[in-house]
């Protein structure tokens, strides 16, 4: 499962996936523009974007947690509505059951899937061990620090052996040192093939976190959300935050994020990695679609030189 070889068939594929909410006046607020996106095995994908740009909504639609307003999500080629995708999510807020112990929290998803008790216990203890939580099996969440809580969150997500592990800002509620430790542990599990997970999809607004972890980074533009840039990162692990390639990539993503409406100001023109030129797959929209979509016709003229986030009016 090397990151260099991309299997031809995606695990998850979104086609023209969009989200909008109806307004009282009959118009709709477009939150996510029609988006194509595929998750291939062997990759950690980071979805980067400013706060509130729709990253989490997109994640929820990809997992089938939130219904789409248009388009569809395919799971091994089948619509997600018909299939129950084998995915799990790690949440920023941990979302543990406070009345259950660590072991019971980790067992919960297996119980929900009807796994027999003995098997349940065995698998849970194994994953608790893998994330370094042994010793805390009988602890309740309130006894744990933030870092330990999120290890429970990770163990609970991994115990079902998800094909894709979704993580929604998993480390942003932790202090910097703890967050860095947990990132390292996640990479250890992933790169060491200690988990059967075939892809990781992580939502973050932390550019460095994306560059530390990801094989592929998707930058989301806003109003409405759309894929602004999509490229591979070929830096070998462990990645040195001080290396020229690392810094260059962080800088260029920073420029993309801060000036989203400037077409090509800062798009990385190639895959980042030591030397090699690999097909740069960059999807740049000519201009950001506008926020409110009335049935045909939008008062906003595209192409107007506008500031980073200036909305229609």
């Amino acid at each position: 499962m090397s990151t260099a070889n991309i299997a031809p068939t995606p695990i998850i594929e979104a086609r023209q996936l969009e989200k909008s909410y109806p307004q009282p006046d009959g118009s709709r607020i477009q939150v996510i523009a029609a988006t194509d996106l595929a998750v291939y095995p062997g990759q950690i994908i980071a979805l980067l974007g400013a706060s509130g740009c729709g990253k989490s909504t997109l994640l929820r639609m990809l997992t089938g947690l939130s219904p789409a307003s248009g388009g569809a999500v395919y799971w091994h080629g089948h619509p997600v509505r018909d299939e129950s995708p084998n995915v799990s999510i790690v949440f920023q807020s941990f979302a543990l059951f406070p009345w259950l112990t660590v072991l019971e929290n980790v067992e919960a998803p297996l119980e929900a899937r009807g796994t027999p008790p003995i098997e349940r216990r065995k698998r849970s203890l194994r994953i608790i061990d893998a994330v370094g939580l042994d010793g805390f099996e009988t602890a309740y969440p309130k006894e744990l620090s933030g870092g330990m809580k999120q290890r429970v969150g990770v163990a609970r997500a991994l115990v079902v052996e998800p094909e894709v592990l979704f993580m929604d800002e998993p480390f942003s509620a932790l202090d910097v040192l703890t967050a860095e430790t947990l990132r390292g542990e996640l990479l250890e599990l992933w790169l060491g093939h200690k988990i059967p997970t075939r892809a990781i999809f992580i939502v973050t607004h932390n550019i460095e976190e994306a560059v530390v972890l990801a094989d592929r980074i998707i930058v989301l533009g806003r109003n409405p959300a759309h894929i602004h840039a999509d490229f591979k990162v070929d830096l070998p692990h462990p990645r040195d935050r001080k290396s020229a390639h690392f810094v260059e990539l962080v800088d260029s993503i920073y420029r993309i994020l801060t000036r989203p409406d400037h077409k090509d100001a800062a798009a990385p023109s190639r895959t980042f990695g030591p030397g090699r030129e690999v097909r740069p797959k960059i999807v740049m929209l000519p201009h950001a679609p506008r926020r409110t979509c009335r049935p045909l016709g939008d008062s906003c003229r595209p192409g107007r030189p506008s500031g980073p986030s200036s909305p229609c009016g």
Partner: protein, 143 residues
């Protein structure tokens, strides 16, 4: 620890704080802890990593637990006493109140609580003992 290991094992505290974008105040508890465990030495504002610290920084999740256990039992008398007290019991179990009373002879109530809470966290992580918060019972982890 990892930054230290990367930077040849010796670094100025201010420089380290800078590197981590932390105030020195915020960094000190971590440094104190690592020093207590024998992973670091602090001398005149410089921090030096020890061979144990080096091993800890480079170990994987499981190795870190093992190294931590060894360091905790070697350097933290309270944990060693707790382990011995539990070993001395035929059922390998004691109530946390027992240890609290011992600490109470040396510290005030708040400090005793705090010390015990920390010791329980460390002891659990190091797999020295298990703890049941509902009953307050500590049980020696069988090897």
């Amino acid at each position: 620890m990892e930054i230290l290991a990367d930077q040849g094992g010796r670094v100025d505290l201010h420089h380290l704080a800078d590197e981590l974008s932390l105030e020195v105040d915020a960094l000190l508890p971590s440094v104190d802890t690592a020093a207590l465990l024998g992973f670091l030495r602090v001398e005149e504002g410089d921090v030096t990593i020890t061979p144990e610290g080096q091993a800890f920084a480079q170990g994987d999740i499981q190795a870190r637990k093992t190294i931590f256990r060894k360091a905790a039992l070697a350097n933290v008398p309270l944990l060693r006493q707790m382990e011995q007290a539990l070993k001395a019991k035929s059922n390998r179990t004691l109530n946390e109140e027992f240890f609290h009373d011992l600490l109470d002879e040396h510290f005030g109530e708040d400090e005793s609580r705090r010390q015990l809470e920390t010791a329980i966290q460390w002891g659990r992580y190091a797999e020295i003992f298990d703890y049941d918060a509902a009953t307050g019972k500590l049980t020696l982890t069988e090897a």
